[in-house]
Symmetry: D2
Subunit: 374 residues, 4 copies
């Protein structure tokens, strides 16, 4: 059960003290307090854990400071979309709104290689009016003998260049909690020129210790990708690890799955799950067409498969797109074959725009039909 | 290697006799003649099988009656899209064109139950301007004790009602070669009021004897669905069984796959393969959202998942949609829970239309960008 | 519900007539009579289908001619192992007993190529004291352009040679009902020198029309293999199609499954399901190590993987082994790389024997421990 | 390329200095020194990384201190079994030898709950002559709200009781590098009464940062389990992460895989891979029947499925068995339903013994046949 406190709740007030005292006295119930950073001054939520079936929603609502009460189902307690639950499905970061009602493209380098390539990428994004990017510094690789990313060494120039070109948010994978410290330090050292969305990759979806560490910090929002070999439900529970530690600014990423089908793409694209994640949870949903498709194959209609599946994700309501570009794919250190060219950026963004327009028209059309029937 | 003969080739001419004589004399080469029913009077193709590497394309083109020569790669010889191959990617049937450039919706009953329901369905389709439908008479079921469809008994009234409501093509699954005879007989008995596209279901994708039997007849076009537990490549080879026996009027259907992911839908939707099938072969591509999704789940945007995935398929260039409707889903004998209501038909068709419009805009946009770069 | 009649039931007696009359009068119940070929004179079973919950076991047992009554659970009605069900888990054919308590090796050619190779194979089997073999005449192949087997042309010499070398049962795949007629005709023509166990391959596991046709004949027992891309439950239901048409002499074959694991073998070996099939049904269980493993890889202990997995299946209670041998694997037309050599036959049979001995010791040990505890 | 130095190499000798100098001068080659703890005084290995194709094996062998040279294939450089590679496939720890030629059973509690249960378990093991066990203190769980193990709090009594009952090695999962410190501290605090084999669970198989941390310490050997949703090759590469950091005392664990087959067991048992891992690498192979099977199902022969699959693994050469027991399964906090009873311990160990005996007989039989052929 979640108690959502009134917006003006003062945590040093007598009323608040009384509330906590009452909660402490409930038999078989523990409580945990979370201050959720929201659009404005944030709200305070108290999670009641244990035998909450014995509690009445009305009784809880009558306690001091309590504004709303949500009885949650077993799973995805914090991030889930529960019955009668009108908690927001968005958050703001660095002036950018990430929600189930917005769409942002994060085009960028799968792996940072040289300052020149980073700058070419960022300049192209600025020229195309983009304020988000992806930049890989820490790369988990199947073999211990493969290139593992430049790590913290590249952070200063990546952040400075981001600031120079007006980038507000960089999605960046971390594979160990110390990477968060390194990112924080590099941002401080360069004067906080940009924001970072921490990314949990598919190999770490069930690395619960990393999730807990990243969930405990509130500074950076987190993009968690589904595990490519586990169920959607298991992946959503993994996202809940982040939230259960306090960080609710979570985006959920689809990136294809491993199947037994000798898939013609690198992975089986799972963007049919976009509406499912939006229905089960309040998280914005990201799609990663590059790692799903893994090639630059083109259909007989002249459209790249990467673009086709991106458009499919957006048409079903996706809120974020993570896509690999590279100035010189043949020189990319990781996943070059799937990268788009800078000269294709405008075409890609136009394609995304057409799919988004179609999505909005579909929503309007369905609502109109629904109205006609009532 | 395929020799495509001139359109005006007379198979009782001296030239044609000479051609066959020459081919018979080629060492290590067998040939097989196919008359392909095309848009107008059809064309004749001769497949050369064996050590064709030793043959020169130029030599073959200089033979009498030969118009074009296609050197095929190993797989999907007949249906594949080979280098320098400009054979058509469409066919006509009952005045309807099925091609990689058209789109038709086949809404209808998964399983025929009563004449009343069939009539309600067909009337709604006529009122919505549709000329295609799906009607299941022969139902393969996992358990031998489940309802197996009304079989040939329902064919007369299904065909008569189709004629009454202006339906030109009915997609209908067959699971044994005798079903084709039964369909032919019922059409003859009722005066050929409509056309039938034979459907090979996912359990029979590798029932090669059935494929060969259905491939040998040229009367009915065939929709073959991918096997839900085999690779795309294996399924495309199965389609080739139809063509290798002479029937090239083949549509390939995607219908979701079985995965290990505890999929939130009945199957994992595989419509990201639409552009792949269009690239590898010249077959029109059908999507079956009903069997992929298997439920009436709705997203927070009010759009059914069945509609979301349909739109995703169409946005990537799908040419045919097979979708379950039912006047009274609760009374449906098979797969009722996934059926749409007749009252949702207009909304569904509008949604398909929006996705198709978006697809055409995407193609135009990509071509414009390509032109700007040259 | 199954009524098992007394062994001496005379189907032209007055009592039997009365029984059928009573059953016909039961509201909401249909009945179907099956004469099951058993060890001696066979028994008669009557299946009651419909609302059998309303019937009392005692009432049914009191009807004339009825010896036992089995209330079956929903699935695998005929072949399943139901509560209180002591129907036999074996059958006899050509003097060989196939049961959950026996073990037979069917070594032989995956695909018949020449009479010489067939004879070399059969002579080696006779010399090793074997009376069963596998011989492939009809080969379903992924591509329509691959070798499809010699079909009926090779049957006469295969059967005659089998007779010459004392082979009693040949496992032989069929992919169309006409193949059964061809086999019957070839046996008649050659004077019935041997027996045939019809084999349903993995691509036809859900070819229900073929299963029904093969289930309607009672002459030949049937080996049905699990589908490599469907669930075990679906495959067991497919076996039930055979039995529901009357043929209960069914062996169930495990042959590996397709997975997403980039399996080091051709398929993922599923012989851990041997005890599961034995628990759920009364069918003898066959394992096919050759198609599961698909190679001649050898471990550091000098034992072929094909032998390791065979031994694993036998150690868990398998009752039949289907294994590919070939006198000259490099000349085999199908699956040569996985075939064992004739010079390895004695080693293979010794290995199977050691695994079988270990299985019997394990059963004895567990029973002894169980006794000690009571 | 790996240079294996002579056993008596003195790392402060002039010769050794010369060797390193020579290696440093090789263009395009880096080297890394590893001291491998072996049976007696250990050996020193030097890994050459980079363009080793340009180096001749003979040239390298002629360098001072070098005893053997192994040219490794690309993958599994350290742990792999390379051509002409006779490095040992075993290691010793706490007086117990873990190798491809030994077998040890690690029966114990999936999750430690109370000191009483731990003591009951350990006493039973001592009485059965066992010196190894498994004890779970840190439990990664799908949901953040499930019991996560007692963690470091239970370590002191677990270690003390182990010492009391003569247990030499406890397999214990760790999910964060700090757990290793906690284990080290608790051992020191209790006077090092026992040894610990660190266990990497299936969710962390590709948690490369954890692998690197555990690979850097040489105190504890490591059991790494295959990832249940990745390929065997990816899992073996993960094991190589441990070795590439210096810890070569690695056991590889099979524990079943997630498939799309609606598996009748919790996971699809993959013990057919035992000989594969033994062929590709020099690691001892562990099987985990409890997590593969996940239930206490019994076959018609009275043998538990858990026992059947254990025996299958051992029959193919497995070197270690990890199996869940519990004094009172109904009170187990994690995975109770799959645990065996203490009263079943003797039966289980007898069954393992029978399978091991059969394995050894099989090896002898195959060698005898091989000799007869030469």
């Amino acid at each position: 059960m979640i108690l959502i406190l009134s917006e003006n709740t003062d945590v040093v007030s007598e009323e608040y003290r009384q509330l906590l005292e009452t909660l402490s006295a409930l038999p078989g119930i523990k409580h945990r307090v979370h201050h959720v950073a929201g659009a404005e001054r944030g709200v305070t939520e108290i999670y009641l854990i244990g035998n909450t079936k014995a509690l009445e929603v009305e009784d809880m609502r009558s306690l001091p400071c309590v504004d709303k009460v949500v009885r949650v189902s077993q799973e995805y307690r914090v991030l889930g979309r529960h019955k009668g639950d009108d908690r927001p499905s968005y958050f703001d970061y660095k002036g950018v709104r990430f929600g189930q009602d917005t769409l942002h493209v994060f085009a960028g380098l799968c792996a940072v290689d040289t300052p020149e390539h980073v700058e070419m990428m960022l300049r192209a994004l600025r020229d195309a009016g983009q304020v988000c990017t992806r930049m890989g510094a820490y790369k988990p690789r199947t073999s211990p003998y493969a290139f593992q990313g430049h790590g913290k060494d590249c952070l200063p120039y990546v952040f400075e260049l981001a600031g120079k070109y007006g980038i507000k948010v960089i999605a960046m994978e971390v594979t160990h909690e110390t990477h968060v410290d390194e990112i924080r330090a590099a941002l401080a050292q360069t004067g906080d020129p940009t924001g970072v969305m921490l990314q949990i990759g598919t190999r770490n979806t069930q690395n619960f210790e990393l999730l807990k560490a990243v969930g405990r910090q509130r500074e950076f929002p987190v993009l968690i990708k589904r595990g490519f070999g586990i169920t959607l439900d298991e992946s959503l529970n993994a996202a809940e690890y982040l939230a259960s530690e306090g960080n609710q600014r979570v985006v959920f990423g689809l990136r294809g799955m491993k199947t037994n089908m000798g898939d013609p793409h690198r992975n089986l694209v799972d963007f049919s799950h976009v509406p499912v994640v939006r229905r089960l949870t309040r998280m914005p949903v990201c799609v990663d067409p590059s790692h799903s498709v893994g090639s630059r194959s083109v259909g007989p209609d002249g459209i790249l498969d990467v673009m086709h599946v991106t458009a499919q994700g957006v048409l079903a309501g996706a809120n974020m797109v993570l896509v690999d570009f590279h100035p010189v794919p043949s020189k990319a250190l990781v996943d070059g074959p799937q990268a788009l060219l800078l000269s294709e950026l405008a075409m890609f963004l136009d394609d995304v725009r057409l799919a988004r327009e179609a999505y909005l028209k579909r929503v309007a059309s369905v609502h109109q039909h629904a109205l006609a029937h009532t």
